[in-house]
């Protein structure tokens, strides 16, 4: 039998997803046995031209990580889509935009101004900005163009499966790889994770139905390690986040930040979490309730940390 032809690619990402694919440990040997890696820029020496030369649908499955932020990301997403039978949005950036997607709070112009003029460490009296093309004696040099909006993979090309996580947990990665290697795939367009329910379902911390008088940031308190963090005033996102990761963060005292994305069926993860918070405030005085929620610093950035590009209102007015 022919080996499964596998491609891995990174677009606008931190590199963590590529490392996460290696976190499956010795199972990588199993992958090596049943699959042939035909493209993986981070680990092996392939060129874009090698992919270009392949006939369409030559790749059986492509694990694509990273958001679509540059013309290069877009080009590669389209090319890999054409060359692959199965396209997997691997990791939060490809799936829902993630940290790069937070750029959608600002216009591209304001981001560039901030970076190339305003930051305290910048000294740029000539207001020199990077250009996508520059002439050198050796010839023209090009760099990819930054887009005004950060997009997800599915907002760019047709996607067959989604693997959540920033980065995906080892067992989630294996769930996806195993399905690909054995050809036992779930329903098309589904999110591959061990759970479709909220993370709280698999979290062992004890909930007592306590309400809160004040919200804290993680550095402000040392939580009781046995009890639900949300009930201790920490903004634990477990109530509005898909499970499947094993709830390691809350169980280690660190509130969930929501990286597995929305619970099945929920369209806007950020506002889902906001709704849940409304139910746990310990006050019947409208003025005090407002004071308590005012204690949440940067609510939009917190609630939409991973999902701004897929939220209903995914970008701010040009500032």
């Amino acid at each position: 039998m022919d080996k499964l032809k596998l491609a891995l690619y990174w677009a606008s990402s931190c590199g963590g997803c590529d490392i996460a694919t290696l976190a499956i440990g010795e199972k990588i040997l199993e992958v090596a046995e049943t699959a042939e890696i035909v493209f993986w820029p981070v680990a092996m020496d392939f060129k874009y031209k090698d992919v270009e030369r392949m006939p369409d649908k030559r790749i059986d499955a492509c694990l694509f990580n990273g958001a679509i932020r540059t013309s290069e990301d877009e080009h590669m997403a389209k090319m890999l889509r054409t060359k692959s039978k199965i396209m997997v949005a691997y990791g939060s950036c490809a799936y829902e935009g993630c940290i790069p997607g937070l750029a959608n709070f600002f216009s591209l112009k304001s981001i560039l101004e901030r970076v190339y003029e305003e930051t305290p460490s910048t000294d740029n009296p000539g207001k020199v900005y990077p250009q996508t093309r520059v002439q050198m004696p050796e010839g023209d040099l090009e760099i990819p163009e930054l887009k005004n909006m950060v997009k997800t993979l599915a907002q760019t090309v047709d996607v067959d499966y989604f693997v959540p996580g920033c980065p995906p947990e080892e067992k989630t990665t294996w769930l996806a790889l195993e399905a690909l290697l054995n050809g036992k795939l779930p329903e098309r367009r589904s999110v591959i994770s061990h759970s479709s329910k909220a993370l709280c379902e698999e979290c062992s911390l004890v909930r007592e139905g306590r309400k809160v008088k004040k919200f804290y940031r993680p550095y402000e308190v040392i939580p009781d390690p046995e009890k639900c963090l949300l009930e201790q005033g920490l903004l634990c996102y477990g109530v509005a986040t898909r499970g499947g990761c094993g709830a390691m963060c809350p169980q280690a005292g660190m509130p969930c930040t929501g990286c597995y994305g929305a619970v099945e069926g929920v369209i806007d993860q950020g506002v889902h979490f906001l709704t849940a918070l409304g139910s746990i405030i310990d006050s019947t005085d409208p003025v005090e309730i407002k004071q308590i929620v005012d204690g949440i610093v940067d609510p939009a950035g917190t609630f939409y940390r991973y999902s701004l590009p897929v939220s209903l209102f995914r970008r701010a007015k040009s500032v």
């Binding site: 709070f105 887009k147 005004n148 909006m149 369209i267 806007d268 950020g270 506002v271 889902h272 906001l274 709704t275 918070l277 409304g278 139910s279 405030i281 006050s283 019947t284 005085d285 409208p286 309730i289 407002k290 308590i292 929620v293 005012d294 949440i296 940067d298 609510p299 939009a300 950035g301 609630f303 209903l312 209102f313 995914r314 970008r315 701010a316 007015k317 040009s318 500032v319």
Partner: protein, 137 residues
């Protein structure tokens, strides 16, 4: 030029505010025809998602009306709404959307006139702000 007539979605709780709106009608109080009423059992049933979706689908403003604090039929539904609306307004501002496009207020079953006043005020506020447009790339 024709005057801008905003579309305003009004979520009303069954026990107080809907009855208040009904009273405005039976008392023949005139108010701006811009309101589109949606009745729910409690203001606490108004998920902020409904508000975002209303704006997304063409509303220019959204009013949420419930029982006065302490009078919610389900005891604390409207307290939840207070927290959610306060948070939602902050999020909307961060999205570059005027927070005045959403408003939470209280109307009891006997406050037909108050209902009319709030709808009129909201209509004027939104008329001044102009149509809601999603600013997208």
């Amino acid at each position: 030029m024709t005057r801008f007539e905003p579309k305003i979605v009004v979520f009303l709780c069954n026990w107080c505010s809907y009855a208040g709106a009904d009273l405005a009608g039976t008392s023949r109080i005139q108010y701006a025809p811009n309101a589109r009423a949606i009745r729910l059992m409690c203001s606490g049933r108004v998920e902020p998602y409904f508000i975002l979706e209303a704006l997304h689908k063409g509303a220019d403003g959204v009013l949420v009306l419930g029982c006065h604090p302490g009078e919610c039929h389900y005891l604390e539904g409207n307290y939840r709404t207070v927290g959610r609306m306060a948070l939602l307004k902050k999020v909307l501002s961060q999205f570059g959307i005027e927070k005045e496009r959403v408003r939470l207020d209280w109307v009891s079953a006997s406050e037909g006139a108050r209902f009319a006043t709030i709808v009129n005020e909201m209509t004027e506020t939104i008329r001044t702000l102009g149509p809601f447009e999603e600013k997208d790339a």
